[in-house]
Symmetry: C2
């Protein structure tokens, strides 16, 4: 079974990477296994021998081997050395149920293909443009801009956001009513604390959504109650005595629909009638491909709707910049919940303000919109050709799509994906535990996630795990 292995015979692509030599070696070995250049069962040279061949420290090689063993690409056994794992066979559906019989899919360290929803293509983050904006911002900022700041955020950014949100999303925004926060989760955390301090008990949410949001509200002492979901999306008729409602009106996450006009009105009417608070999570409002995006719900009634937005999808989550546009009077309570301290870095805030006002943001979003639209079109076309029983649902928007599958095929597809090193999510994980919804087999595919060079490989890997 063991095959001789000559280092010189294999192109390891050992290029310097950001992570240093060890990661470069790990990546190169992983790639060699993944592509089959190192076949299953192949015995690797000892770490000492490979280190000598490559001119590296022995520990570097030993560490790289250890990483890959941990990830499941290699196996190490006393006496038989380090070998490439025998892991290319996709187990049949249901095999994972036989405890002890089926080998466990590898722990995903970094997946080979990443179609998990929730992030934009980070490799396309406009690094050079961002640095230029940072330089311009720092060149013009008075030194006082580096002091402790307004707990609402820098006025430059709040002013730029007010203009942008009004123009791009129809938000009725005033810089004095905008709070800069570290993303929508941070904003929700603050709103949860405000609601709790007001004596609120329950927040209506959608049947499908992000469990991290539900957990943040629960941590604030609030019960989340899911609204019914039907083919027309979230149904607000069960809004009664809840204290607030959290919605994704422009692009339901993850199901992908737009809240119907009548339902938008019904939500706002409920808020006016009861004094309930509407929280609009507008996470990807910039990305609509077939028409102008529907305007923000907040535009209908700025007195009852909190508009929550973020740079996480349009630029990068790592910026940790989001914003709340608050109804009159709510700012003071939110700042109290925040401890009246400023928490977002001034430099990033000034840079984003410069990015917005200089037009760099619009240019970046236009380019990103084109890239994501092409990916979505390619995905839909490939599905029609290779997986006709699978249907892409939702509007042409955002960075993800829900693929409806034939009944009973979600779990097998997820297991196959795990074995292929394809990161992808089942719809099930986005279903609220108390939701009463029909059983839907579906995958949530983040086509925005991979870098350009990895996109076609990821699409190929996706098609390979879908039911034919």
């Amino acid at each position: 079974m063991a095959k001789p292995w000559a280092t010189s015979g294999i192109d390891l692509h050992l290029e310097p990477t950001g992570g240093g030599v060890r990661r470069g070696l790990t990546d190169a070995l992983r790639e060699a296994v993944r592509t089959g250049r190192l076949a299953p069962g192949t015995r690797l040279p000892s770490s000492r021998a490979l280190a000598t061949d490559l001119g590296l420290a022995r520990n570097t090689v030993a560490d790289a081997y250890a990483d890959l063993v941990a990830e499941g690409w290699l196996t190490a056994r006393q006496g038989s050395g380090t070998r490439v794992s025998d892991r290319t066979v996709v187990p049949p559906a249901g095999a994972a149920g036989a405890v002890g019989a089926a080998p466990r899919p590898r722990e995903p360290g970094r997946p080979t293909h990443n179609l998990a929803p929730g992030t934009p293509d980070l490799a396309s983050f406009p690094r050079a443009e961002w640095l230029k904006a940072a330089r311009r911002a720092l060149a013009t900022a008075p030194y006082q801009a580096l002091d402790y700041g307004d707990p609402r955020g820098r006025v430059e950014l709040r002013t730029a956001l007010a203009e942008y949100l009004s123009r791009a999303r129809g938000v009725r925004a005033d810089p004095d009513r905008i709070l800069v926060c570290a993303g929508i989760s941070h904003g929700l955390r603050l709103l949860g604390a405000v609601l709790r301090a007001r004596g609120a008990r329950t927040v209506a949410v959608e049947s499908y959504g992000l469990d991290v949001h539900w957990k943040l509200l629960a941590a604030a002492g609030l019960r989340t109650v899911p609204l019914p979901f039907d083919e027309r999306g979230t149904d607000p008729r069960e809004l009664t005595d809840q204290d607030a409602v959290l919605l994704t009106p422009a692009h339901q996450f993850p199901m992908g629909g737009t809240l119907h006009r009548d339902r938008r009105s019904a939500v706002v009417e409920w808020a006016r009638r009861t004094g309930g608070l509407v929280v609009e999570d507008d996470y990807d409002g910039e990305f609509r491909y077939d028409r102008q995006p529907v305007g923000a719900l907040q535009g209908l009634d700025p007195d009852h709707v909190v508009h929550a937005g973020t740079a996480s999808k349009s630029l990068a989550p790592g910026l940790r910049l989001g914003w709340l546009v608050l109804p009159p009077g709510l700012m003071e309570e939110v700042l109290a919940a925040k401890g009246d301290i400023d928490t977002c870095g001034a430099l990033d805030q000034l840079t984003l303000a410069e990015f917005l006002t200089s037009g760099a943001y619009d240019r970046h979003v236009r380019a990103a919109r084109l890239r994501y639209r092409r990916r979505r079109d390619a995905l839909v076309a490939e599905l029609a050709r290779r997986a006709p029983r699978v249907h892409a649902t939702g509007i042409a928007a955002g960075l993800h799509v829900v693929l409806r599958l034939p009944p009973g095929t979600e779990q097998p597809a997820l297991r196959a994906a795990a074995w292929q090193g394809l990161a992808i999510h089942g719809l099930h994980r986005y279903q609220h535990p108390d939701a009463v919804v029909e059983r839907r087999d579906a995958l949530v595919v983040g086509y925005g996630t991979p870098p350009d060079h990895a996109w076609s490989g990821a699409l190929e890997a996706l098609c390979a795990v879908l039911p034919e």
Copy 2:
């Protein structure tokens, strides 16, 4: 009384500033009043006339006038137009007690001289070096660094901090036990929530400190109880059944002493005996001028002491970057208090990591130490010459000094400072409301605050308000 006023006769120094034309005009007018070029009682031209003279919109001039009226530099009265206030006379001590008799000191918009403690010289923030570090950091970071991150903060920064804190402050740090937060206040907020969740009730604090810290703890539901303070500093003998203690051991804020060796030991012994938590606020540990700074208290017992540090004094508060080095087992509770979300921008974290590892941080701190040391020396020398009854106290360290004044002179000095546009703090505002301490007349002077070009003017203004 009214004097004719020809615009062309006065050099308004109307230069473009970061804040636009309106602020430029406001600053120029304020400066003209302050320096006496516009004498008390002078009647200003109508906003319409001045706007025509200067080629500005009338509203711009009217707004600038309104700002200066609000600040007390100008007075506006129906029928008699806008005049320069009659406000150059420093009122005698006690005059403020005669309600209605003494004119109120102006609301400080931006003070003419700023010696308020709490900020470093922001004009010396190393903008070019920081941008270079940002460029290097962005050039080498993998794109995944821009994704949602570890709620503890970027591993690159935690690793660089562990090395730096060990080397510079004797902290026993492990990257896995470091939490990056948005400054010490943010860290205290999280620790307050953790303590409260554990059922804690009281936190011992120092008799002198920051009320923003006490308020953050109170907002978490904790009672702050001040420890006695004597000539040897904070006395830990009254540490009994409190749940935690918050201290500034290296450089008591604001009093300026170092916690005595015996008292350091006593604090740690208390923590070991009772399981109480010690929180060490090491806000300016980098800046000691006469000798090596005393090592961090955390080094004595990393299992019971939280070490809290910040870039706010060494670089700039606007970065909103601080850190907690946590005892084993505490991280999970702190992350839960944080909602398990990451809140600090990745780019600033990567840049600070690069700044630390490249040596730029050390170079910057050395230069800053020299600058602040010179200012402190100049201040002490000037006091000896011009105000022999005033004594600088505390060790030669940090960015501020406490000036002990003859009894009964703190309030008059503060009033005189307000009238001169000199921002300065009385010791009184740093005294815990429940502290039982002897009455001390003193000023807290932030000699680190002004930019270099404004330092000698600020020192001069300070000497002018001190009792002779």
